[in-house]
């Protein structure tokens, strides 16, 4: 198609009205490891596969789910290093907000500012878009919230969402299983089952990561032992 002639420069629209570099960025996300998030009535859970390139890698040193503020956490699908840069910027923005207002930043505001950063990189010279989609999970005065932010800088609030390799199967599974009045524990079980759907090999506490936030408004990543407990409940 004529589009390929326009794929070299990020800041040039193709005749069909697309920015081809962003499409390619979304492909990069789509070939990343599956991650998903579910918003329950009393909390949010986010989870991801943690497939390491070799058994020699020390899995305790790898953490894909990161904390942005004490009550907001994030997981990504796509290029790890890109997500680290975004996490760093988001943490800084959250702290700046707190310094000014002495209040924790609302989830929507943090998502908006992170998305604005991602959009900047689609309209500047000499840079490329971020090759990650983020799932931001938080609990503030407005209750539990789950947002997905794409490389283009667009963001949506989701009741449940998935990204990465197995996205279409995972989303179909979530659509069937999601209920509005789900409790946090049910959501964790559903998350595990969804990950299991597309998982190659044996699922265990060491090759998935789960982060939860409940009514206590404290985001934390579950330890492998806690994940094993949930896995056994699911069996």
């Amino acid at each position: 198609m004529g589009d390929s002639q326009y794929s070299f420069s990020l800041t040039t629209f193709s005749p069909s009205g697309k920015l081809v570099q962003i499409e390619h960025a979304l492909t990069a996300v789509g070939s990343g490891q599956t991650s998903l998030g579910i918003k329950a009535a009393n909390g949010v859970v986010i989870a991801t596969e943690k497939k390491l390139p070799s058994i020699l890698v020390d899995e305790t040193s790898v953490q894909k789910i990161q904390i942005l503020t004490p009550n907001i956490g994030v997981v990504y699908s796509g290029m790890g290093p890109d997500s680290r840069v975004l996490v760093r910027k988001s943490r800084k923005q959250a702290e700046q907000y707190h310094r000014l207002y002495k209040e924790p930043i609302p989830v929507t505001q943090l998502v908006r500012e992170t998305a604005a950063v991602m959009q900047e990189f689609t309209q500047s010279g000499g840079v490329r878009p971020f090759g990650v989609s983020l799932l931001v999970a938080g609990f503030d005065d407005k209750g539990p919230q789950l947002y997905q932010v794409d490389p283009s800088g667009s963001y949506f609030s989701w009741k449940a969402s998935a990204m990465g390799k197995n996205v279409s199967n995972a989303k179909t599974f979530l659509e069937k299983r999601y209920t509005d009045d789900m409790e946090l524990d049910d959501a964790v079980h559903t998350a595990i089952l969804t990950l299991k759907e597309g998982f190659e090999g044996q699922i265990s506490g060491k090759n998935i990561e789960i982060g939860i936030i409940g009514n206590d408004k404290v985001f934390r990543v579950l330890t492998p032992a806690e994940i094993e407990d949930y896995l056994q409940e699911v069996e």
Binding site: L100, Y101, K102, E103, P106, T108, Q109, R112
Partner: protein
């Protein structure tokens, strides 16, 4: 003569039972000459938040305009009004930005926070907050106001008594 005493002002805010009162004089002077007796020193930020600004009149007006600007943006972005505590942190930050060329104002902030709990505070011209549970004063008459408040204040007054 001190720059804070150039225009002259007196401000006081007090806490009552689920209510607060904020009051000021209305004189605008140039040193000893009175040039207006209807000058506004207390401004409304939103229905449950008021700020009184004492000190140099020009700085008070400019500072008020800046604060209204910041609050309007906040309202548009966050789709809610600012809480008084948040607003006072914002005022403190804005005043400190000008640490080495300050606004010659002393603000008094009074509002109703969550569940209509009254909140008052004052700060100096570079943003040092002073929270109080009973009353705060600011301006050229602050010493006499302190005296008046100490003798007349009692806790949990209702709106009528507070007035």
């Amino acid at each position: 003569m001190s720059i804070f005493e150039y225009n002259g002002s007196a401000l006081v805010a007090m806490v009552g039972k689920n209510c607060f009162a904020i009051a000021s004089d209305r004189r605008l002077g140039v040193q000893l000459q009175t040039i207006a007796t209807d000058f506004q020193k207390i401004y409304k930020i939103h229905d449950k938040l008021f700020i009184g600004l004492s000190g140099l009149a020009t700085d008070a007006q400019t500072l008020y305009q800046r604060l209204v600007f910041r609050h309007k943006l906040y309202q548009l972005r966050e789709e809610r009004d600012m809480k008084p505590e948040t607003f006072s942190s914002l005022v403190s930050a804005i005043l400190y930005e000008k640490r080495f060329g300050p606004y010659f104002c002393q603000p008094v902030i009074a509002g109703l926070g969550d569940e209509d709990k009254p909140f008052i505070c004052t700060m100096d011209s570079i943003g040092a907050k002073e929270l109080a549970k009973d009353f705060v004063v600011a301006g050229t008459a602050s010493e006499s106001l302190y005296g008046a408040c100490e003798s007349m204040f009692k806790p949990d007054m209702d709106a009528e008594e507070l007035f």
